[in-house]
């Protein structure tokens, strides 16, 4: 699904990512944890093409139409990223050079970035915004646009599933939403846009316990499928109680310094980053 090789990226001429490599296969959920300033958000922004995040070296290949080769029986976690590299799940589909695409092309290819701080857009209703986005993506993929009715049906189902009422969906994007509502709205957007790969940047920050559960269930419902993958960027183990990762990586100093299974997250929580990132 996603293959990052030796990625270097600068923000305002300051190197932040310094040789990051990571492979994510279809059907997998990866969590990236790490101390403040390690480059976690930079990774999400760089992969989604935010202006000002300048790639200076490395490559990223995205294979949106890959499917996990065989169903996995029970949790069988590989502990090194070497294993996953040896089992490429590109059974179908063409790999695209992600970094050569504009942000909207990356979205149309199937990439979704869940924002740590979702942006407020006064004057633009959620439904108008999302219908335009979905149809813009469909157009780029050569698919027919959805009618208002078809779109509303999808939007209603996704909003219902996240416990968000339609009235809220008609309100301007994120304006006056609480922190938790914004994150729910990100999940509604993800459900409607139905991406292949979701990069979720601290989707758990600012959530109370109930909202955390709802958002966690949303991630599982929308993204835990053989033809999808998730990269969770988080500071805390608590989201991983709801969304079981297949792999956990520690990002420090702009590189992945350690990878492991879900137990690594617990270890981090116990020991702190200093010990492991050292």
């Amino acid at each position: 699904m996603l293959s990052i090789n030796n990625l270097h990226a600068n923000v305002a001429d300051k190197p932040i990512l310094k040789g990051l490599s990571l492979t994510i296969n279809a059907g997998e959920i990866h969590a990236i944890m790490g101390p403040n300033g390690a480059g976690k958000s930079t990774l999400g922004y760089t992969l989604s093409g935010r202006p000002g995040y300048e790639v200076t070296d490395g490559e990223v290949w995205f294979t949106p139409n890959s499917v996990r080769p065989e169903p996995v029986e029970g949790p069988s976690f590989s502990t090194t990223s070497e294993d996953s590299k040896n089992s490429p799940s590109t059974s179908s589909g063409q790999a695209v050079d992600l970094l050569s695409l504009a942000p909207h092309e990356r979205a149309a290819a199937g990439l979704f970035l869940g924002f740590q701080y979702p942006v407020e857009i006064p004057g633009v209703s959620n439904v108008q915004f999302l219908r335009e986005c979905l149809n813009a993506q469909r157009k780029l993929r050569g698919e027919a646009p959805l009618s208002g009715g078809e779109f509303l049906k999808i939007a209603r189902a996704q909003a219902d599933a996240m416990g968000m009422d339609m009235e809220m969906l008609k309100r301007p994007v994120n304006v006056g939403f609480s922190g938790g509502e914004k994150k729910r709205n990100e999940m509604v957007q993800m459900g409607i846009l139905d991406p292949k790969l979701a990069i979720l940047d601290e989707t758990d920050s600012g959530l109370d316990i109930d909202a955390l559960r709802v958002v966690g269930e949303g991630i599982n419902r929308i993204m835990r499928k053989p033809d999808k993958a998730v990269l969770l960027i988080t500071h805390y183990q608590r989201l991983l109680d709801y969304v079981q990762p297949d792999f956990v990586h520690v990002l420090a100093g702009g590189r992945i310094v350690k990878s492991g299974g879900p137990e690594l997250a617990l270890e981090l929580e116990r020991e702190g980053y200093a010990e492991i990132a050292a």
Binding site: F112, F129, A136
Partner: protein, 242 residues
């Protein structure tokens, strides 16, 4: 005809020096609109051909008037409003001007609260790209004794290019001591983070800009008789800018 159109070289020209546009003369006499006591009036104006348009309005006691204006056409498009409010009258202006290339667009208002208890509310939004200049010069005058005047001016401009110019000058001239006169003014650029957010959801850069600009101007036409036509005309012009 060698006289240039008003430029940003000279501060005074920006607003009101009509000698600079003498080639547009002679002007027709200002249109005169009188709304009788207790009456109401509304109109939508799309200025799409340039020139100077002058309107004088007189609102009688308790009369209400609403003007919605889209100022988009011509090298030079100027709309001048002179409004006089009698006791308890209510005046609303919702205006957008959208300029590209070397257009000069101006909205000049002079609202006089001649008697007590009148209200006026002016909302003006400008979107300017290329080398366009957009100006709002709005004076609210409160006559001696026009107590309980309630007036509001909200002026915002969005610059799409560093070569575009926005001028905004709300003015107050108050000769009464029990009045509420609010004015606010802001000139800015599209927020890069908002643009990126929209693009990350699949909108092309022009579509993302258009959506943000549409939202920026849309509020001025809310409640207009021909709201949809105004919004459509604004959207079309915005599409030419991004």
């Amino acid at each position: 005809m060698s006289l240039p159109l008003p430029t940003r070289r000279d501060e005074a020209w920006r607003y009101a020096d009509l000698d600079a546009v003498a080639r547009l003369w002679p002007l027709a006499a200002p249109e005169s609109i009188t709304v009788p006591a207790g009456g109401s009036f509304s109109r939508a104006i799309v200025q799409d051909a340039g020139g100077v348009h002058q309107i004088e309005m007189h609102l009688g006691k308790g009369a209400r008037a609403a003007l919605h204006i889209l100022n988009i056409g011509g090298d030079y498009g100027r709309i001048e409003l002179n409004v006089t409010l009698n006791e308890g009258a209510d005046f609303t202006l919702g205006a957008a001007q959208i300029g590209s290339d070397a257009q000069t667009l101006e909205i000049i208002t002079n609202v006089t609260h001649a008697e007590p208890g009148a209200t006026s509310r002016q909302v003006v939004r400008s979107v300017l790209g290329g080398h366009a200049t957009g100006t709002y010069l709005g004076k609210v005058a409160v006559a001696r004794g026009a107590q309980q005047t309630d007036s509001e001016q909200s002026v915002k401009a969005m610059l799409l290019d560093r070569t575009a110019t926005a001028n905004a000058k709300p003015e107050l001239e108050i000769f009464a001591d029990d009045v509420k006169c609010a004015h606010g003014c802001a000139i800015g650029e599209l927020d890069p983070m908002s643009l990126f957010y929209l693009q990350s959801r699949g909108l092309t850069p022009p579509a993302a800009k258009t959506l943000l600009l549409q939202a920026f101007v849309a509020s001025v036409f809310e409640g207009a008789d021909e709201e949809e036509a105004l919004q459509d005309a604004a959207l079309q012009k915005l599409g030419e800018l991004v």
